[in-house]
Amino acid sequence: MDTLDYLFQGFGTALIWYNIAFAFVGVLIGTAVGVLPGIGPMSGVALLIPVTASITGGLPPEQAATSAIILLAGVYYGAMYGGSTTSILLNTPGESSSVVTTLDGYQMAKKGRAGSALSIAAIGSFVAGIVTLVALILLAKPLSAVALKFGPAEYFSLMLLGLGAVSGLAGKSVTKALIMTICGLLLGTIGIDNVSGIARFTFDVPWLYQGIEFLTIAVGLFALGEVFKTILEKEEDEVHIAKINNLLPSKDEFKESAGPIARGSILGFFVGILPGAGATLASFFSYILEKKISKYPSKFGTGSIAGVAAPESANNAASGGAMIPLLTLGIPGSGTTAILMGALMMYNVQPGPLLFEDHPQVAWGLIASMFIGNIMLLILNLPLVKVFAKIIQTPKQFLIPIIIAISIFGVYAVQVSTYDLLLLLGCGILGYFLNKNDYPIAPIVLGLVLGPMVENNLRRALTISNGDFSVFLTRPISLAFLIITLLWLIIPFLMKRRGKEVIINVEG
């Protein structure tokens, strides 16, 4: 069967009524998550894993996995749409990938052009979403075919590359990011060892035998950490929403933004594929690019529509591009995709080159549902943008405690253990302090999810080579990955030394 057949089958899966409903709920919640400044896509997805796990409980395993990932991915790319709304209307980005949009978006809103800014953002996101999906479909098969030829040594080096790239770009200090990655990997070694069956670092506590659940850590560090931050650093924010007049942009505005949308989509897609560089970087880069090639660079920052169209297309394209390494190689390139990967693994579906052969329903169902989800988002965001803008007025008084309650319910529903709830609370406190002191959190979750796989591949490679570490250096592909990893870590460091400003990825 060729790709098109698989795609049609995927549409067959995605068009089952409950999967349409899941996609709809996903993008709806995603948009809300994008609009609310307190919750980013990462905590949104993490919070919803247990909820989806319980909703899909009645379905057969593979269908449950498909439906769950359709919903969770919907939250992820939905948040990219929603983030622009608050950037434009309030000058407060809903999440970090929309920070650049505030520069021109809010200026446009001030001039009474909020409507066209919002609709261009939505249209740009839609175009970008479709472009990346087409690219995803074209690249999925060949990439996974290449990845199938990898041995354990190549896989180990590739994973190191993924971890290294995320750490290199994750925060202000590479040292801190690397420490966080190692801590995540170490957390992953707790529990019964898969290969030898020996209990490691469990101190004879039965609760630790099954290992530390990534869900508890992710929800605690992200969702509770952000909640505690909101409580501790209470800001009296005056909500002043700009008025939305006419929604349809003029013909000139369309013409002006067509180029930026096209360039933003392509650039965003390629940035998204790179591990470590996510939506935030993509939006920054595309904004800089547009400013450079524009005939009137001085117009940027004063309400230029290209300054809204390009970054908004780019961040959406990047979120699609980030699915490629996740689905074809099994390497998540960011915190949110790491959480998506953890969710798939909870359903016993291993992302990676075999995903397209073993679980075509999951892979192609997800891809097809992203088409449907993007169309839904376009419809949701154009006429209903006023409704979503209202979400931001949700009083924190009610929002914050309910997030805590959902976290506790979610973790308890999946783990049924008070110890996990205590760990959740502890992680919440830890998340707040780490975040406050510039320790990036995404690498911990990434390390925790990838840890067991990194270790298995390392040990398999070493067993084949009789404990000889040079196997990673003598195999050319593996060596290439290792060299790229080193460069990735060293180059930003050298650039900082030279006093250059390095753009970092705050989203993770």
Binding site: I179, I231, I402, F409, L462
Partner: protein, 150 residues
């Protein structure tokens, strides 16, 4: 950036790294004969963590302390909500989901802002009731519903 935090953290990470190395050494004796045992990965990681924490400690001396404005932190509501969450977690299994969630939400709503107490009562009751009903009755999940002495 708080340099004191970084220093304490680097010492803590150093300890964690050393502990993991010691822990893996104890594992080695129970390994199953192959030279590539369950100890190799954690001990490499432990060593890396030790190196990185030394580097972090060194970095704290390199950067000058920025005395930024001290933000005023809202300790009181945070402590109340933290303690409420702790109580919620510890009593969840004995008193049951519905009652604990209701009380927890109401306390937190009122801690956040001491207004709209009728609305707070209604929302907490609706949330705890709805979640319990839909999860246990509709989705057939398991939650400790009511006090165990019921």
């Amino acid at each position: 950036m708080d340099i004191k935090f970084d220093r304490i953290a680097s010492v803590l990470f150093l300890t964690i790294g050393v502990l993991f190395i010691i822990g893996s050494r104890n594992l080695a004796s129970s390994s199953y004969g192959s030279s590539v045992g369950p100890d190799i990965f954690p001990s490499i990681l432990g060593a890396l963590l030790v190196l990185l924490s030394i580097r972090l400690f060194y970095e704290t001396f390199m950067t000058r302390n920025h005395h930024g404005e001290k933000e005023k932190l809202q300790y009181k509501p945070f402590l109340i909500i933290f303690v409420a969450t702790l109580f919620y977690i510890l009593t969840l299994e004995t008193i049951g989901y519905v009652i604990t969630t209701f009380i927890f939400l109401f306390v937190c709503f009122q801690t956040m802002e001491r207004t709209k107490w009728v609305k707070s009562l209604v929302i907490s009751a609706c949330f705890s009731g709805l979640v319990y009903f839909s999860y246990v009755q509709v989705l057939k999940g398991t939650l400790p519903g009511w006090p165990i002495w019921f």
